[in-house]
């Protein structure tokens, strides 16, 4: 399904990004992994090499540092896919926000991702007919207490992706967004613990909480040529959460 495609995955050391990296390799694509944690990245790379007899080169990088973006982008081959997954979750009530916290969340979730794409385009590392996928969040469409800056950062990413889609359409480079609901990952565990003061999250989802595989399956489809007529979309995968 992804044979012959070089695909960069950011935030590949854990959670959704890790699963996407594994699935890209399983679908015969070449996964290029980046993330901040050297140890965990190397484990994902090793797992792929061992189980799928294919290499998954990894590039530890802090994408908030421009020099890391430079180093990473110069090391990469021509890409037919990019998955922008790196980000952090922040749960802070508005009255407790600090300037530092706002800047940090926007820097990690939005600004660094924008600058990475900009640099990849500048170096012409994204080939014609490639597919770029941004991982956003259902939070960008809801009003969940405590998520103001996280939701704003994801909304910004979704808006950016829409404009990028039209700008890159002449090269037939497709740009889409996947917005998952609550997915069982380590980060989400912490959120669930907080939210469980009110409700059991799984009961809010008619199809139950999502898994990283649910999200990854959608991303793989968007990376493949099977979605060649899709661009500028923002796909909600929420197990029916927003039906209620």
């Amino acid at each position: 399904m992804l044979s012959g495609k070089n695909i960069l995955i950011t935030g590949a050391s854990s959670g959704i990004g890790r699963q996407i990296a594994i699935d890209v390799a399983a679908k015969n694509g070449s996964a290029f992994l980046t993330g901040r944690d050297y140890q965990r990245l190397s484990e994902v790379s090793e797992l792929i090499s061992k189980n799928m007899q294919t290499k998954a080169p990894f590039f530890p990088a802090d994408l908030t540092m421009e020099e890391d973006i430079m180093r990473l982008t110069e090391s990469l081959p021509l890409l037919s896919g990019v998955v922008i997954n790196a980000g952090i979750i922040d749960y802070t009530p508005v009255k407790y926000l600090t300037k530092e916290k706002v800047i940090n969340v926007l820097l990690i979730n939005f600004i660094s991702n924008v600058l990475l794409i900009r640099r990849l385009l500048e170096l012409r590392k994204i080939q014609a007919s490639a597919s770029i996928v941004f991982i956003s969040s259902i939070s960008a469409r809801l009003g969940v207490p405590g998520t103001s800056i996280y939701a704003a950062s994801k909304s910004a990413l979704s808006a950016f992706a829409k404009v990028l889609a039209i700008e890159l359409s002449t090269k037939r480079i497709r740009v889409n967004v996947v917005s998952p609901g609550l997915v069982a990952t380590d980060l989400k565990e912490k959120i669930s613990t907080i939210k469980n003061t009110q409700t059991d999250d799984s009961k809010s989802y008619p199809l139950g909480l999502g898994t990283v595989n649910n999200v990854s399956n959608q991303v793989i489809h968007l990376l493949s040529d099977k979605s060649e007529w899709m661009t500028g979309t923002d796909i909600l995968i929420d197990g029916g959460f927003t039906l209620r």
Partner: protein, 76 residues
């Protein structure tokens, strides 16, 4: 560790109970009208930002009164 009196005072700030002095050590905080997920977040962030005191969501669930909560924090 924050003193016991200062600890209780913080809940008036968090809950914005300006002219209300109804909170006691035996108050079951989960029964307060204001109690919701935003208050839980506010408690966690308030103590972390102002007192470098980490209160886990679990400890808020495991305890009932302010006294229980304070004592559990001292022990941990």
């Amino acid at each position: 560790m924050i003193s016991k009196d200062l600890f209780l005072e913080q809940f008036y700030v968090i809950l914005e109970k300006n002219n209300d002095k109804s909170l006691t050590w035996q108050t079951v905080y989960k029964d307060l009208d204001e109690w919701d997920s935003l208050v839980v977040l506010s408690i966690i962030v308030h103590f972390e930002q102002n007192f470098q005191l980490v209160i886990s969501p679990q400890s808020l669930f495991d305890n009932d009164t302010f006294e229980d909560l304070y004592n559990s924090l001292i022990k941990s």
